[in-house]
């Protein structure tokens, strides 16, 4: 069996009277690159902070490679975290940050990794990082996280603030690193189109709950779009386990469904969907179902 990099059961976190994350259960197998998606306020950052041990859960638990990140120092050595907007001390140079990383991480710190990566892509090591561009700062933050040689790398909206070129360069650096070290990645992002080529696992959060999770190829194989003659209200479709989204005109029904068997292809035209279609359908489907307690 494949090793589980991140495992959560019944994980929940409350801020005051508001649940930021509730009853979150998921398993992320080692070696995957997982997309953590959902609208603002869905609980993405909370989940990441719980996984790193920066927040204490109110219910349930999270384990990283079988260990509790809040109580086990060995677990922390396995985790790399790049927080939102890649916060770095702006007056420090990359070289100084690398030295600082060495002091803070007694074990396993490989300064060479950070230095080589940054040199290779032409990022000045001796300039205060506050004076670098957003894209360059993101690269410094990634290089620092990689120098820790983490087995699980968590990134919170790493490319949200970057222009398209910087975004592409960041993803290049990240994919190169995953190819080299085999790091497991959990990456939160709004930019679905960017994730399609990168992620092979999905965690979809909506209103503090896990709405959908699993390997992308399996999810895409079981979800399809059906187009056919108008379906009578309330009628079931053989082979369909769940209708995620439906729209109807007088004569035609368009359904995005999860299948659990063969669908009658003489009645329905079956279309494959993209990861983006799938995510949007699930977010749209649950938008009306649960009132959103958390404003962005």
């Amino acid at each position: 069996m494949t090793e589980v990099a991140l495992h959560a059961e019944g994980l929940g976190k409350r801020f005051g009277r508001t649940w930021a994350l509730q009853d979150c259960s998921l398993e992320l197998p080692a070696g995957r690159i997982a997309a953590l998606v959902g609208p603002n306020g869905a609980g993405k950052s909370t989940l990441l902070h719980l996984a790193v041990g920066l927040l204490r859960p109110d219910t349930g638990w999270a384990r990283v490679f079988g260990r509790d990140p809040r109580h086990d120092r060995d677990a922390l050595a396995d985790i790399g975290f790049v927080a939102q907007d890649t916060p770095l001390y702006p007056d420090f140079t990359a070289t100084e940050l690398i030295t600082m990383g060495a002091r803070l991480n007694r074990r396993g710190w490989d300064a060479g990794i950070a230095r080589d990566r940054l040199t290779r892509i032409g990022i000045p090591l001796d300039k205060p990082v506050g004076r670098l561009s957003g894209g360059q700062r993101a690269q410094v933050a990634l290089a620092l996280a990689l120098a820790k040689r983490p087995r699980l790398l968590l990134l919170d909206e790493p490319v949200a603030a970057l222009d398209p070129l910087a975004r592409h360069e960041f993803m290049q650096a990240l994919m190169g690193a995953v190819g080299e070290y085999g790091t497991t990645v959990l990456l939160s992002s709004h930019l679905l189109a960017d994730l399609e080529r990168v992620c092979d696992h999905l965690v979809l959060l909506h209103t503090s709950h896990v709405r959908l999770t699993g390997p992308v190829d399996e999810l895409l194989a079981e979800h399809v779009r059906l187009i056919g003659p108008r379906l009578p209200d309330g009628a079931a479709v053989p082979g369909v386990a769940e209708v995620i989204r439906a729209s109807h005109t007088e004569r035609q029904s368009t359904l995005l469904v999860r299948t659990d068997g063969p669908v009658d292809e003489s009645r329905w035209t079956v279309h494959d969907i993209t990861l983006e279609d799938l995510v949007l359908a699930h977010l749209g489907a649950s938008a009306g179902a649960t009132p959103s307690e958390v404003a962005a």
Binding site: M175, V178, G179
Partner: protein, 133 residues
């Protein structure tokens, strides 16, 4: 060595695009048995795609007997798709270019030509029943 490119608008799965590019290169003789495929990490980085996708493409090529992984060294092409027909490619291409010129002169657009080639290919049996053309 092959340099992969991806078609962002294509509906073809990313790993299959890589597989098809290798096959295309083998067919026209741009890649040959003995050539090493680029390192997984380098392809992942250059195209900003999941390394697992590159691995999947290479595994598919291995399954089809076109490539072979040598642990610690890389993945190598072991078979070609060019076959003896490769020798005729240049001549056929020349004739095709001339034919395309005639088609354009007759007022056919790119799409018309593609459609004509496509329907003709489908309507023609793979092996002609007699020795004719």
């Amino acid at each position: 060595m092959i340099e992969f490119v991806l078609d962002g608008r294509s509906r073809v799965a990313t790993y299959m695009q890589l597989v098809l590019q290798v096959k295309q290169a083998l067919r026209v003789g741009l890649a040959q048995p003995g050539d090493r495929l680029p390192k997984v990490r380098d392809v992942a980085q250059a195209l900003a795609i999941n390394p697992n996708t590159v691995l999947k493409a290479y595994r598919e090529l291995e399954l089809e007997g076109l490539a072979e992984g040598r642990p610690g060294v890389g993945t190598f092409l072991v078979r070609t798709l060019a076959g003896p027909s490769l020798a005729h490619h240049a001549e056929l291409r020349e004739e095709l270019v001339a034919w395309l010129g005639r088609a354009r002169a007759a007022g056919l657009t790119r799409e018309d030509i593609a459609a004509l080639v496509d329907t003709t290919l489908r309507a023609t049996p793979d092996r002609p029943p007699t020795g004719g053309t």
